[in-house]
C-alpha cells in the first residue's frame, strides 16, 4: 500500500478529479464577477468597457505566458515586469530614431534579456528568485537611464491603425497578437522536445540531466522565451498608452504570478501549463476593471486584489498532497 503522498498523474492533458473541481470554481468566478459588477454598474458589460478589458488582458496574458516557462521548471522570473518596462521604453526610443516599425526590435531584445537571466541562473548556478529580483532592479534602472526619467512618447506612424483596430470589430488587435504568441508558447511547451524537457526539469532536474537533457541550455531558453513574451507585452503597453514610463510594466508582476497559480500551475514546477494561465488572467482583469468601474477607492482595490490572490491560491493549491508548505 502506498503510504507516501499521493502522486497525481500530471504532465498529461488528462485532468484529475481535483483539477476539474478547481475548474468549476474558476469558471464560476469568471461568470459571477461580471454579474456582480453589472448589477452595480450597467456600464460594465458595455462594448466600450469590454474592449478596454480585452486590451488590458492582452498585456497581462503575455506576462503570464512569460512567467509560466520558468515556473514550470520550479524556477521563477521576478523580472518580467521590469523587462516589460525596459522593452516599452526601448520600443519608444527605437521608434523615435528609426520610425515606428522599429518597435519590433524589442522582441529579439526581450529574448536576449531573458536569456541573460537564464544564463546567470543555469550556468553560474544561482537561485532564480534572487537573480531575477536583482536583475529586475538592473533592468528598471536601465529603463530609467534610457528614458531620462520622463515618459518617452511614441511617434505616430502607420502601425497605429494595426493596434487600434479590432478583428471582426470585436477583438482588439493587441489581444489577437497576444493570443497568437501565447498559442505558440503552448505548442512549444507541449509539442516540442525542449518543452517536454522544461516539464521534466520541473519534475526532477537531476533525472533530466542523467537522461541527457542539456539542462542548462533548456533553462536558459525557458527564460529567453519569457523575455520574448515580455518584449511583445512592452510593445502592446506602449501602443495602448502612447508613452512609455520606466516603471510601466512593474504593476504586472504580482497579478501575473497570481494568474499563473490560479490557473493551477504550482510554483513547485512540473505541472500545469501556459494554457491554464488564460482563466486566471481573465478573472484578474474582470476584477480590476470591475473595481474601477464601480468606483472603489484605489486603496480598497489593492486590499481586495491581495485577498483575492490568497483566496485563489487557497482554492487551487493542493494542500492535501503538499507535505510541507514553505
Amino acid at each position: 500500500m502506498p503510504t507516501g503522498p499521493a502522486f497525481k498523474p500530471m504532465g498529461t492533458l488528462k485532468a484529475s478529479r481535483r483539477d476539474r473541481y478547481q475548474m468549476v470554481f474558476l469558471v464560476a468566478a469568471l461568470v459571477i464577477l461580471p454579474i456582480i459588477f453589472t448589477t452595480m454598474n450597467a456600464q460594465y458589460l458595455s462594448p466600450g468597457n469590454l474592449d478596454s478589458m480585452m486590451r488590458q488582458a492582452s498585456v497581462l496574458l503575455l506576462v503570464v505566458a512569460a512567467g509560466t516557462a520558468p515556473i514550470l521548471m520550479g524556477s521563477i522570473d521576478l523580472s518580467v515586469g521590469a523587462i516589460v518596462s525596459l522593452c516599452a521604453v526601448a520600443a519608444a526610443l527605437f521608434a523615435q530614431s528609426m520610425g515606428q516599425s522599429a518597435v519590433f526590435w524589442v522582441l529579439p531584445l526581450g529574448l536576449l534579456i531573458g536569456l541573460f537571466n537564464g544564463v546567470i541562473v543555469s550556468y553560474i548556478k544561482l537561485p532564480s528568485f534572487l537573480v531575477t529580483l536583482g536583475t529586475s532592479f538592473v533592468f528598471g534602472g536601465i529603463a530609467l537611464l534610457a528614458s531620462g526619467g520622463f515618459p518617452v512618447q511614441l511617434v505616430s506612424g502607420s502601425l497605429n491603425a494595426a493596434f487600434h483596430q479590432s478583428l471582426f470589430g470585436i477583438f482588439p488587435m493587441p489581444l489577437v497578437y497576444a493570443v497568437i504568441l501565447w498559442l505558440l508558447l503552448i505548442v512549444w511547451l507541449r509539442r516540442t522536445a525542449t518543452g517536454r524537457f522544461i516539464y521534466a526539469i520541473g519534475g526532477n532536474e537531476r533525472a533530466a540531466k542523467v537522461c541527457g537533457v542539456n539542462v542548462r541550455w533548456v533553462k536558459s531558453l525557458a527564460f529567453g522565451a519569457g523575455g520574448l513574451c515580455c518584449g511583445l507585452a512592452g510593445v502592446l503597453v506602449l501602443f495602448s498608452t502612447t508613452a512609455a514610463t520606466p516603471d510601466i510594466g512593474n504593476s504586472f508582476l504580482l497579478p501575473s504570478i497570481a494568474a499563473i497559480v490560479m490557473g493551477g500551475t504550482p510554483l513547485s514546477g512540473g505541472q500545469g501549463g501556459a494554457a491554464r494561465g488564460l482563466i486566471g488572467t481573465l478573472i484578474l482583469v474582470e476584477l480590476t476593471n470591475g473595481m474601477l468601474i464601480i468606483g472603489l477607492p484605489p486603496a480598497a482595490q489593492q486590499i481586495v486584489q491581495g485577498i483575492v490572490v490568497i483566496l485563489a491560491v487557497l482554492l487551487t493549491f493542493d494542500r492535501r498532497t503538499a507535505a510541507v508548505v514553505k
Binding site: M1, P2, T3, G4, A6, F7, K8, P9, M10, G11, T12, K14, R191, T192, A193, G195, R196, F197, Y199, A200, G203, N204, R206, A207, A208, K209, V210, C211, G212, V213, N214, G270, Q271
Partner: protein, 506 residues
C-alpha cells in the same frame, strides 16, 4: 505460543482494503529481548502490518495486546505513547542538526531551564543518555550529515529509546523497516553489533530484503505471503534458499545461470584506460567485451565512482574511455552519444520524475538521448513507444498515465532499466540495481540484463549484493581501500565462493 511473557501479542489481525485482503488473520507474538524477522516480498502484507502497529491504519478485525494491555493505536503518536516506535526506511533524522539536537527534538519541555535551552545542556543530556544505553561511541555533538547511514539508523533508534524513557516506558517495541537498505557490509555489521547490545531491554520487529541477514539477526522468523503467515522457520536451521522458496510459494524461483554464450570475438566494446578518480588510489583500467557482464564490488565508493564516471556524470581527472575503439567525449551527452546508458542508484533522486507519468518518463529518455523529437510532436507516437517498452520489459502499470511515483520500487526500477536498454544501447551501466526491491523484481531485472547481453550489450554493474549477481556475472572485480583487490572469473571452473568474495572486499 506462550502468551505469559510476550511483550506484544498479535491475534488474528485482518485488514481489508476495498475487498482486497492485505492481511488475513495474522497471529504471532514478540517477547522481551527478542528479534522477530518479518519476511515477505512486496505486497505480502509487511507494510500493512507495520502500518497497523504504528497506528497509520486501523485493523479490520483482530486484536493486539502490548505488555498485557489492549493496544489499539489510532495514530502514529498514539502508538509511540504506548511504546511502539517505528524506524522508517527513509530516516527522519535531520541532517542539519547535531545528534543531541535530533535526540531531544520535541522533548524541549523536559530539558528547559528557566524557559531556555542551551546547547550545553542538550549535549550533556544526550551524551549522558547515549552512554547510559551503551551507544557511547556516538558523538552527541556531531552534525548528523557527518555520520554514516548506519550511525544515522542508530540515532533514530536512540531517539526512540530516549522518548520511551521520557514516557517511562520500560519495554519499548521497535519496528525496524529495512534498516540495512543502502548500507555496506561493514556498516551492516556495525549496526547488527549495536542492536545486539541494545536488544535485551526491548522487543524488535525487523524487515529486510536480504534473506541471509534476516536469518542471522532474528530469533524467530515470520514469513508472510499474500497476507497470511505461511511459516515460522527456525532461523538457525534455515538456509536463505529455503527462505526464499517459502517467500515465493509455488511460484517458480527464477534462477538464471550463466549460459555458455560466446562472447563476441576479441574486440572490446568498452575500454577504460587509466582512469584517475578521487576515490581510487591508482589509475583504473578494464575492458568489457560485447555481451559481457561484469560486476564491480567493494565496501566504499570506488565502484560507484567508476560507474558514474562511465556515465559521464563525474569527470575523471585523467584517463580515457573508449567504446568500440572510439573515444567517448566528456559529459553525460558524450556518453549517451557513444551508446552508454546509465541506471542510477537513486531512483527517486536521479532516475525518475515521480510526479510525471510512466509515458513521460519513458519518452524523456528517447527524446533526450536519441533525439526522438517526434515523440514530443505526436502524443500517439509517444504513447505507442511507451506501451511497447512497458510490454517488452514487463513493467506492471495500470495505465501509461499513471505517475511514476505510484509504482512499486521494483516497477520503478524496471522502468529505468527499460529506458536504458534501448535499441541504441551498446554499454549499460547499472548502479546498485537491486537495492530495495523484492526477489521477484530482482529476478526480472536480471532477466532483462541477460537479454540485453545476448544482444551484445556490454553490462557493467556496481553492486552491494555480489552474491545475488553471481549467477549472471562473467567477471567480478573487487575493490578494497581504493585499489583492485581481486578479480574473479565466474565462467571458469574456479568460480569464487561467497567467502572469497566477502574476503576480497573486507
Amino acid at each position: 505460543m506462550n502468551t505469559d511473557d510476550s511483550l506484544l501479542q498479535i491475534t488474528n489481525l485482518t485488514k481489508v482494503f476495498k475487498g482486497f485482503k492485505a492481511l488475513d488473520s495474522v497471529s504471532f507474538d514478540l517477547k522481551l529481548g527478542e528479534v522477530v524477522g518479518l519476511a515477505g516480498h512486496n505486497g505480502a502484507g509487511k507494510s500493512t502490518l507495520l502500518n497497523i502497529l504504528s497506528g497509520n491504519f486501523a485493523p479490520t478485525s483482530g486484536s493486539m495486546t502490548l505488555d498485557g494491555t489492549p493496544f489499539q493505536p489510532s495514530s502514529y503518536n498514539d502508538s509511540t505513547r504506548a511504546g511502539v516506535f517505528r524506524i522508517y526506511q527513509e530516516l527522519s533524522v535531520m541532517d542539519n542538526l547535531t545528534v543531541a539536537e535530533n535526540l531531544t527534538l520535541g522533548t524541549e519541555r523536559h530539558i528547559r531551564k528557566f524557559g531556555l535551552i542551551t546547547p550545553n545542556r542538550i549535549n550533556n543530556i544526550a551524551g549522558g543518555f547515549l552512554d547510559d544505553v551503551g551507544l557511547g561511541d556516538l558523538d552527541a555533538t556531531k552534525r548528523v550529515d557527518q555520520l554514516t547511514m548506519a550511525e544515522k539508523q542508530l540515532v533514530e533508534i536512540a531517539k526512540a529509546m530516549y522518548m520511551a524513557r521520557l514516557a517511562k516506558i520500560e519495554k519499548p517495541v521497535l519496528l525496524l523497516d529495512e534498516p540495512t537498505s543502502g548500507l555496506t557490509q561493514s556498516q551492516v555489521d556495525f549496526l547488527e553489533e549495536h542492536i545486539n547490545n541494545l536488544r535485551s531491554s526491548m522487543g524488535i520487529i525487523l524487515t529486510t530484503h536480504r534473506g541471509s541477514e534476516l536469518l542471522e539477526w532474528s530469533d524467530r522468523v515470520v514469513v508472510l505471503r499474500d497476507g497470511q503467515v505461511v511459516g515460522t522457520p527456525d532461523p538457525k536451521t534455515t538456509t536463505p534458499e529455503q527462505l526464499s522458496r517459502l517467500l515465493l510459494g509455488d511460484t517458480e524461483v527464477v534462477r538464471h545461470t550463466r549460459r555458455d554464450k560466446r562472447i563476441d570475438g576479441d574486440r572490446d566494446r568498452l575500454e577504460l584506460r587509466r582512469l584517475t578518480l578521487p576515490s581510487i588510489a591508482e589509475p583504473f583500467s578494464m575492458t568489457l567485451r560485447p555481451g559481457e557482464i561484469v560486476a564491480l564490488i567493494g565496501e566504499s565508493e570506488e565502484k560507484t565512482a567508476v560507474a558514474r564516471c562511465v556515465s559521464g556524470l563525474v569527470k575523471a581527472k585523467d584517463g580515457t574511455i573508449n567504446v568500440d575503439g572510439e573515444p567517448v567525449s566528456a559529459g553525460v551527452r558524450g556518453s549517451l552519444e557513444a551508446g552508454i546508458r546509465f541506471v542510477p542508484a537513486d531512483r527517486a533522486g536521479e532516475g525518475l520524475s515521480l510526479l510525471h507519468s510512466v509515458q513521460d518518463n519513458l519518452s524523456l529518455g528517447a527524446m533526450a538521448a536519441e533525439g526522438r523529437q517526434d515523440l514530443a510532436r505526436k502524443p500517439h507516437a509517444a504513447k505507442a513507444f511507451a506501451q511497447d517498452l512497458v510490454t517488452k520489459f514487463g513493467v506492471k502499470v495500470s495505465s501509461l498515465n499513471q505517475s511514476a511515483g505510484s509504482l512499486s520500487g521494483g516497477n520503478q526500477q524496471k522502468l529505468l532499466v527499460a529506458r536504458a536498454l534501448s535499441e541504441d544501447a551498446r554499454v549499460v551501466v547499472l548502479d546498485k540495481p537491486t537495492r530495495g526491491i523484492d526477489v521477484h523484481a530482482k529476478a526480472e531485472i536480471f532477466r532483462l540484463v541477460l537479454e540485453a547481453s545476448d544482444r551484445g550489450v556490454a553490462i557493467l554493474i556496481a553492486s552491494d549484493e555480489p552474491e545475488e549477481l553471481m549467477p549472471i556475472c562473467d567477471r567480478i572485480i573487487a575493490f578494497r581501500d581504493g585499489v583492485v583487490s581481486a578479480e574473479f572469473d565466474c565462467r571458469s571452473e574456479s568460480e569464487p565462493t561467497l567467502g572469497e568474495l566477502a574476503e576480497s572486499i573486507s
